[in-house]
Subunit: 417 residues, 2 copies
Amino acid sequence: MESSKQNGVIPTSFFSGRARDSRKVLELDRRLLRKLIEGMGAPAIKVALWDGEDVVSNPGATTRMIIHNRISLLRLIGNPLLYFGDDYSSGNIDIEGGLVNFMEAVARAMDGTGQIRRRTSPVHNWHRETFNSLSDSRKNIHHHYDLGNDFYRLWLDKEMLYTCAYYPKPHISLEAAQIAKMELVCRKVRLSGGERVIEAGCGWGGLARYMAKRYGAKVRAFNISKEQVAYAKERARKEGIFGVEYIEDDYRNITGECDVFVSVGMLEHVGPNNYRRLGQVIDSTLSDTGFGLIHSIGQDVAEPLTEWIEKRIFPGSYPPTIREMMEIFEPYGFNVLDLENLRLHYARTLEHWLERYEANEGEIVRMFDESFARAWRLYLCGSIAAFRTGSLQLFQVVFTRHGNNNVPLTRHHMLEP
Amino acid sequence: MESSKQNGVIPTSFFSGRARDSRKVLELDRRLLRKLIEGMGAPAIKVALWDGEDVVSNPGATTRMIIHNRISLLRLIGNPLLYFGDDYSSGNIDIEGGLVNFMEAVARAMDGTGQIRRRTSPVHNWHRETFNSLSDSRKNIHHHYDLGNDFYRLWLDKEMLYTCAYYPKPHISLEAAQIAKMELVCRKVRLSGGERVIEAGCGWGGLARYMAKRYGAKVRAFNISKEQVAYAKERARKEGIFGVEYIEDDYRNITGECDVFVSVGMLEHVGPNNYRRLGQVIDSTLSDTGFGLIHSIGQDVAEPLTEWIEKRIFPGSYPPTIREMMEIFEPYGFNVLDLENLRLHYARTLEHWLERYEANEGEIVRMFDESFARAWRLYLCGSIAAFRTGSLQLFQVVFTRHGNNNVPLTRHHMLEP
């Protein structure tokens, strides 16, 4: 319990719940539940209360939610997008028939209603939350990324890449798809040998290692997660890779000059208010004929993340629309060359992660506790659903400086033969 | 003279000019000229006045502008971006050393100063001018596209495509590059046979013919240029193509249903105020799993077109930034799959057009008059410079409906082997 409290996943007060309610289900309970499910766009699910009888059974339902007590029902009615996650984590809610399928049915229905994410939190000023000062960023990143390298090792690939992989063929392994992703990024920014690269937000350092090993690039890789940087440094030392320097610092403090600027999976944590600042950093470091690549989770339509994800899993994070991303580029006249949407690749990546995660769930429960394990299972399943239904996108944007004519005519060089 | 007046290229009053000034060049003339050239960011050009002596000779200059009289000098000082075009057209200004090179030197310098296009027209409310009501649009399109099919035939390819071609190899012919462009568009929207296509802004009907012939598509192609539609209908009849219906109507009046929505080179004339309206038309016609493609001239940074182009060549037109283009997609939750920038392909296309144009300039002078011929030469040369320097971009955006999972994993299908 201590560990999950530390990580802020579930407030301790919640564990008083997890009770099967022995009280009679009232007609009022059923009426409130029906109204709640209707308000979510009538997803194709069944729902039962603590007496085990289905109250809702919508057409096409293959999954079933059981709400085990009245307090959880009332919390759901108050704020479903926060308390579904909390009450699922603490065991006050169970899902039968597959959590991914359930989340997908719900996501499809809620997508239909459009406004639900905003509607459920009318006073939620989400842009304020993604302001992300230097110290906020450190705290937010620590919350998620410093859960322990041992935890992430259980379900990520060998290179420890915690970003969308690339599946040129649908049935390749996670390991192969992560290597294909790194190769795709290197090809898009036209690495050929010896380039000076700045990487903003390097995770456990996998892409920087790849660029140094495969292309002889000289990479300066920045990250504010202490544990990730320590891991990356140690691993580069062990593998005898000398072309990479890992620096524990914020992207706003990046200086120097580079031929290539890459950022894979950091923008989600930057916050729209800081996009212009990120552009400024790129503008002050990128050479005249350099190339840049930003890889980020995104959205078709500007909406805050589901409150539970934003509060419990990824504090301070926000997936931008393409329009919002342009705030990085336009103020500095950067020239966008290419944009690719890899949405379904992220659904596949998450499926691979979930498979490994579930195979190691016993160990994860031992490392943390059951509610933590359930919360992260929900996060992975919900993310699969979000990418499958299109609530989330994955944008890779390639850019250069305004007027750089040293650009390839076609995109053949981006694709492996 | 009548014809050019009709087409509004140059006001008749201008032809009183074209005089070599016999008056002495004053020190004041020289001082004003130096200030003008400095304000343009000191381009690498030489400039002489009517006595033929160089007043400005900037480092790296390979071209030379001669201003033949004081009235032209004063007009340039008042509004260089309008009157350079007018006075070049009417012969009050001459350029030695190549018009493209000259325009490129000027564009590079002005790009450096950033604000010049706005600065020279402080009260110019350009967004108002691109409001484009139904009747404005008809007038604007008539101004440019109804100059006569015989005119455009002199310098376009055989299929009469008046949009950016695609050069998978740099030295292919214009004809081959236009076919490659049509093939690229068809591949991007995944034509395979029998799809119902709506084309908004079909020019002389080339792409629609290609889609019908090569893919058996059933195309409904819209255009408000009377002459273009008449040409397209006649040509389809002659070639025995039955899969295409050409409709003389505005994109705002498009109804029906389609599997593919394409628009190649129309958005420039739509105006930012109408992007949402265009999105609505797409939303009301595109099938659930359909694909769309918008191909348009664009910009890195939102700025009005050079005033001369906007007034004399393309009234009511505006090249959007990517951010501005998103107003077509985001309000309807369309899902952007892919964006490619073909800027240098347009420079090459224009070089091909210019080559044919210059080879036929004698005939063009006979069809219109010399000032018309000079105006259009300037437009083509200036456009080459704009695409070479990055003042203009060419964006191709592929999209589908929110949540459509029937999308290819990679972009191999877009590229010819």
